[in-house]
């Protein structure tokens, strides 16, 4: 059996940077489209992600599992890489007869974690969003553009932010983040 290898292949960048940037490696990702208010859907989301359906513009986590709000009828469920297939099967059972779509997109996106004192301002270097504590508290999830590509950004804790982009742009995002977070480029705004 061949092993899955992500675009960034576990890359880490931190030397001389105000942050640590790391590839999250293979992560199970499921696009789930359906009626987010339906109890059946909420139940199966809790079962496979360990969290309820997150509120708009937010993300919820149970360890490495979680769910990201993508649009009024779409979630991105995060699981272990190997768990995505069985989870989709489980969704199919739970929502049998209910219109929905559960698509395995585990390989479609690159996920990176950015931690450190410079993380928040690094977000502000690339995204036009308000990423201040008031506007972007822990648990916020936003889709926006960053370094000229489409991304999702969510905040795990004060100094930990995670991002995703299409894997074909993964190297671009990683290189851009590393180039923009040199210690000497601290803004000290937030």
């Amino acid at each position: 059996m061949s092993e899955p290898v992500t675009v960034l292949n576990g890359a880490v960048a931190h030397e001389g940077l105000s942050v640590r940037i790391e590839d999250l490696g293979p992560v199970g990702q499921i696009t789930l489209r359906g009626d987010l208010a339906a109890p059946d859907l909420q139940g199966v989301v809790y079962e496979i992600a360990g969290v309820g359906v997150p509120a708009p513009l937010s993300a919820a986590f149970d360890g490495t599992r979680g769910a990201l709000w993508m649009s009024p009828d779409e979630l991105l469920i995060l699981t272990a890489y190997d768990a995505a297939g069985p989870a989709i099967a489980r969704i199919g059972e739970a929502l049998a007869g209910t219109h929905h779509m559960a698509e395995d997109v585990s390989d479609a996106r690159t996920l990176v974690r950015i931690t450190g004192a410079g993380a928040q301002e690094l977000m502000a270097k690339g995204a036009p969003l308000d990423v201040s504590d008031a506007a972007f508290p822990v648990g916020t999830m936003r889709r926006t553009h960053f370094a000229e590509i489409a991304v999702g950004i969510w905040r795990r804790d004060d100094m930990t932010w995670e991002m995703m982009c299409l894997q074909s742009f993964g190297q671009h995002l990683f290189d851009w983040l590393a180039a923009s977070s040199l210690e000497g480029a601290r803004v000290n705004y937030f």
């Binding site: 061949s2 992500t6 675009v7 293979p26 219109h99 779509m101 395995d104 997109v105 390989d107 923009s180």
Partner: protein, 1009 residues
């Protein structure tokens, strides 16, 4: 450092001495100096030459408005031209060179222009349009090379910039631009409400004129008050302060661009040079101060003639004496502060020359009290000296505006001039704020009652404060700023509790609007009265333009170059338009100002670009096999956002040879193509079949699970816009393949129809293009290669027939295996989750080695599909082509009641039989490849020659050993066998015969094995 005072100089650190280079010689200064103050301290009065006449020029100002002291800074990869010495902070090792001279600053060939001009003004208004017109050829061969060599504003850098730049996005409640007295007060008032406040200042120091103007605020001197207030702001958690950060541009709805010069003053590796702030503010306060105007008298450009406020700044802030004896020329009271400042510093002030009938203010009295002569209703008839000021001739002004009576000469080496102040209304004007003319103060000032910038709610979101709002007196300036700050906080939804602040009032007499000081003799006509120093525009030029019919200030600007170039007329605009108004016999507000456009002062291209340079210049999509391709000699080409291998060159091969080898190898043995870029969209739901029947021109709902069908998508106008293979992957699920560049467009198209028209359909779509790495294996040995790589299913012709699909594993990689063909060969497309892509690629290459497998690129792909007559979206289509035009009527359902484009296809214009239709072409000479886009004619006639169509794809086919082409030709389907002519460049004519566009294996025997 003969010009440095023994004491004083608020901004400099005398405990340290640093050295810098100017035109190759080493000079010294102190931390805190600007390059301008350091040059003056070193006695460098002449710092450049003017643009047209190459006249000696000196430092005029002390800030952003400086027109003359433009320097080339740095060298090699850090070289940058046109940097103002007055805004350049001195640092150890700074290198500066003056501009606009050749061969040297002291001796300059171009200065001959000036000598000639004193006889006849050859470079007067409109000189570009008049002087160099004839003879025509002379411009290119004589004038332009000479002008380029001898003149120009700075030199373009020759090497790439080594510095780094970045952007930063900020959202705030209140943005205050300008860190002088008004900005500080406004920020304090706004911040008292708890609103998030950002206060920025373009220089390295807070305080603006409060540092130099001898004010008293709340019982403190200006500098002490500034320090106290800044400390208060720094302690507030809701306030962000930033110096070296200029308001560069203001746009709609509170969007502002700030330009931070992060490390110009302390360059270091890894530190960005500039940072562009992109601020979205609920409310903006523009506290950008005011700029002093020069006076327009003869020879007012001789080095040593400076703005009065600048002279004061150099004394007070940098402890620099611009000269030993001075004359102050004024039409207002503020200039008297300079006389007082110079006197305190030990400079002999010979006289204050005041254009007003009486000088009666408190400040004038103080000056008189020191024994300094004040000449009322007088003006400078002429400044004496060439490369520096030697004296000033002063005369009495008559009621009719002439110099009358005897001329008095004062020997001096500095002339400090003040023609009054103009509020910096630039930023306010950028975003729609209108102005009004204030006759009493002789200035344009913000007029929110005429039009104020509005936020997204339609309410005013931008206010000017202090001097920028026309409030020049300290006590009014402060009160105005506090009110603006409180108003902004309230408008942002906060309750302001503004602090109380009071500045001591000074009784100042009114200004006298004075736009031209007459001279006598040969300079009487204004040919040496400089209005725009940077562009060498004189009062005579402005008047000439008016006499020649230029009434609009915008036209006059272009004709005379008044107010153009890097300073955009910061000193010259008001004086210029006042002179224009005078000549036209109009009032100043009737003439109006030119348009203020961002940026306020030039900002670096690097800051605009930010991080997106070099490898990060443009995001490039890479397939998972990109690294393999690079190792394999791939020669890439851009396809949409992707880079795809055009071909894989082996040593000694050019592109053509590589493509030929790849095609023949695929046709004879087997080839491997990275098809990951192919768009892939998953569609699911009970109404998916119905939905796709409407989206595609042909029937999709009848597709059985496990089967594939080629389909066409049209716009509602009936024109083809994407094509690809549709796969039925499950009971109510489909996978749509789109063109490589078309996935996002098609995805948006599907979502739009679902969300806006067919919202009641139960269908979801997801773009899964990036989920899959995809590989095409094509050629007679394709099946053998896949079997050799270890496929976990039977892929025989019987088990997996043409246009079918299975899910299985190859070499341990989970795959979707589609038996489809774009080359006409036995062919499989294999999709695997992207993280397995490289492993699958390697396994297939290894398994194919025994069969002679070679990867092929996009060009081989294109040639092979053309040999089969398969169309390419974007080649055979251009947004005006229907499926019927392309001979694809078989893929347009006649049974379906509706699909997007059906209605349009019934229009008379789309059923004309003489529409351009797809045909094949074979040239008479087998080796002749028609150029892409070549036009066809039935026969050559006298011009205009009517063309009947054009070539859409054209290649040399290695398989057929001859050229092939496809073309869209009027009524082409009915012209088989006709010979068309293609007139080409160089009077060449190529003839080609119309044929079936399928050149190879029309019956499809090669793929059905």
């Amino acid at each position: 450092m003969t010009h440095r005072l023994d004491t004083g100089g608020r901004l400099i650190d005398r405990s340290q001495t640093i050295s810098f280079e100017f035109n190759g010689s080493t000079l010294s200064g102190h931390p805190g100096d600007t390059l301008a103050s350091a040059l003056l301290a070193n006695g460098k009065k002449m710092v450049g030459r003017s643009f047209k006449y190459h006249r000696p020029r000196g430092i005029v100002a002390s800030g952003a408005e400086e027109p003359n002291a433009l320097m080339g800074l740095g060298a090699g990869k850090s070289f940058e031209p046109n940097q103002r010495a007055t805004t350049t902070e001195l640092f150890d090792g700074l290198r500066a060179t003056s501009q606009n001279h050749w061969p040297s600053l002291e001796f300059d060939v171009g200065a001959i222009n000036a000598a000639v001009a004193s006889v006849a003004p050859v470079l007067s208004a409109g000189f570009y349009y008049k002087t160099f017109m004839f003879p025509r050829a002379a411009w290119k061969h004589v004038y332009e090379p000479f002008i380029r060599q001898a003149a120009g504003l700075g030199k373009a850098p020759k090497e790439g910039d080594e510095a780094s730049y970045e952007h930063f996005h900020v959202h705030t409640d209140v943005l205050v631009i300008g860190g002088g007295m008004a900005g500080i007060a406004a920020a304090r008032a706004a911040a008292s409400s708890g609103a998030r406040v950002m206060l920025v200042e373009q220089t390295a120091n807070w305080g603006g004129r409060a540092l130099a103007d001898d004010l008293r605020i709340d019982g403190l001197g200006g500098p002490d008050w500034v320090a106290r207030e800044i400390a208060t702001l720094e302690a507030m958690p809701n306030v962000s302060l930033r110096t070296r950060c200029m308001g560069a541009g203001m746009y709609d709805h509170g969007y502002a661009i700030l330009y931070e010069r992060v490390s110009d003053h302390a360059p270091a590796p890894g530190v960005p040079r500039h940072r562009l702030w992109r601020v979205r503010a609920e409310q903006i306060i523009v506290a950008s101060g005011a700029i002093e105007r020069p006076l327009t008298f003869a020879m007012n450009d001789v080095p040593g003639v400076m703005l009065a406020s600048a002279v004061r700044d150099y004394v007070e802030l940098y402890g620099v004496l611009p000269g030993k004896s001075a004359v102050v020329a004024a039409n207002n009271d503020d200039a008297y502060r300079t006389a007082l400042s110079l006197h305190r510093a030990g400079v002999e002030v010979k006289a204050v020359i005041d254009t007003r009938r009486e000088a009666i203010g408190t400040l004038a009295d103080q000056v008189r009290g020191l024994g300094i002569p004040v000449r009322e209703q007088s003006g400078i008839a002429m400044v004496k000296g060439k490369t520096e000021v030697e004296g000033a001739e002063v005369g009495q002004l008559s009621g009719s505006g002439q110099i009358t009576g005897p001329v008095e000469t004062f020997v001096c080496d500095v002339v400090a001039m003040s023609g009054g102040w103009s509020p910096v209304v630039h930023l306010y004007s950028h975003c729609g704020g209108k102005l009004r003319w204030d006759d009493e103060q002789a200035m344009f000032r913000p007029a929110p009652e005429r039009a104020a910038p509005l936020g997204q709610t339609g309410e005013i979101n931008t206010r000017c404060a202090g001097a920028a709002n026309g409030e020049l007196q300290a006590e009014h300036c402060l009160a105005d700023a506090l009110a603006a700050g409180a108003a902004a906080a309230r408008a942002a939804g906060f309750t302001a509790d503004a602090p109380e602040m009071h500045a001591d009032a000074v009784d100042e007499a009114p200004i006298n609007a004075h736009w031209f000081t007459p001279s006598t003799g040969k300079y009487a006509h204004g040919t040496k009265h400089w209005v725009d120093f940077q562009n060498d525009v004189t009062a005579a030029d402005v008047r000439l333009a008016a006499r020649e019919g230029y009434e609009s200030v915008e036209h006059t600007k272009r004709y005379t170059t008044l107010g153009m170039a890097t300073d955009q007329g910061k000193l010259s605009n008001i004086n210029g338009l006042a002179l224009l108004a005078e000549q036209l016999g109009k009032a100043i507000p009737e003439v109006g100002t030119t348009t203020f456009r961002p940026p306020y002062t030039p900002i670096s291209m690097g800051a605009i670009t930010g991080r997106n340079v070099g490898p990060l210049f443009k995001p490039v999509r890479k397939t998972r096999m990109q690294g393999r391709h690079a190792e394999n000699g791939a020669d890439f080409e851009p396809v949409g956002d992707w880079y795809r291998p055009y071909c894989f060159r082996r040593p000694g091969e050019d592109r053509e040879k590589a493509v030929t080898r790849e095609i023949l190898n695929t046709r004879e043995r087997v080839g491997l193509l990275d098809a990951s870029t192919l768009g892939k969209i998953a569609v699911k739901g009970p109404d998916a079949g119905t939905f796709l029947d409407l989206i595609y021109t042909n029937m999709m709902s009848s597709l059985k699970p496990g089967r594939c069908r080629y389909g066409l998508m049209c716009t509602e106008n009936g024109f083809l816009f994407d094509d690809g293979v549709v796969v039925k992957t499950g009971e109510d699920s489909y996978l749509l393949h789109t063109t490589s560049g078309g996935a996002d467009r098609v995805h948006a198209h599907l979502e739009e129809w679902l969300q806006t028209e067919w919202w009641d359909m139960k269908v979801y779509v997801t773009n899964v293009t990036d989920q899959w790495a995809q590989v095409a294996v094509a050629g007679p040995k394709a099946r053998a290669v896949i079997e050799g790589a270890g496929v976990a299913a039977d892929i025989s012709a019987e088990a997996l027939p043409f246009m079918s699909y299975i899910e299985t594993e190859i070499a341990g990689c989970p795959v979707r295996l589609y038996r489809i063909s774009f080359s006409g060969e036995l062919s499989y497309e294999i999709a695997t989750p992207a993280n397995y892509g490289p492993a699958l690629w390697d396994a297939l290459l290894a398994a194919g080695e025994a069969h002679g497998i070679m990867p092929y690129g996009t060009e081989a792909l294109h040639v092979m599909r053309a040999e089969k007559g398969f169309i390419m979206i974007g080649d055979e289509t251009d947004g005006t082509v229907t499926p019927h035009d392309l001979g694809l009527s078989w893929a347009v359902s006649k049974k379906k009641t509706d699909f997007i484009g059906k209605r349009a296809m019934a229009r008379p214009d789309l059923v004309r039989t003489d529409r351009k239709q797809l045909v094949g072409l074979m040239t008479e000479e087998a080796g002749e490849v028609l150029p892409d886009g070549a036009h066809a004619v039935e026969a050559m006639t006298a011009p205009p020659v009517r063309t009947i169509g054009h070539v859409t794809s054209t290649y040399f086919s290695p398989t057929l050993g001859r050229s092939i082409a496809m073309a869209l030709i009027e009524g082409g389907a009915g012209r088989m066998g006709e010979v068309l002519s293609f007139p080409l460049e160089g009077d060449r004519m190529v003839k080609a015969t119309i044929c079936d566009p399928v050149f190879l294996d029309k019956e499809g025997a090669r793929q059905n094995v």
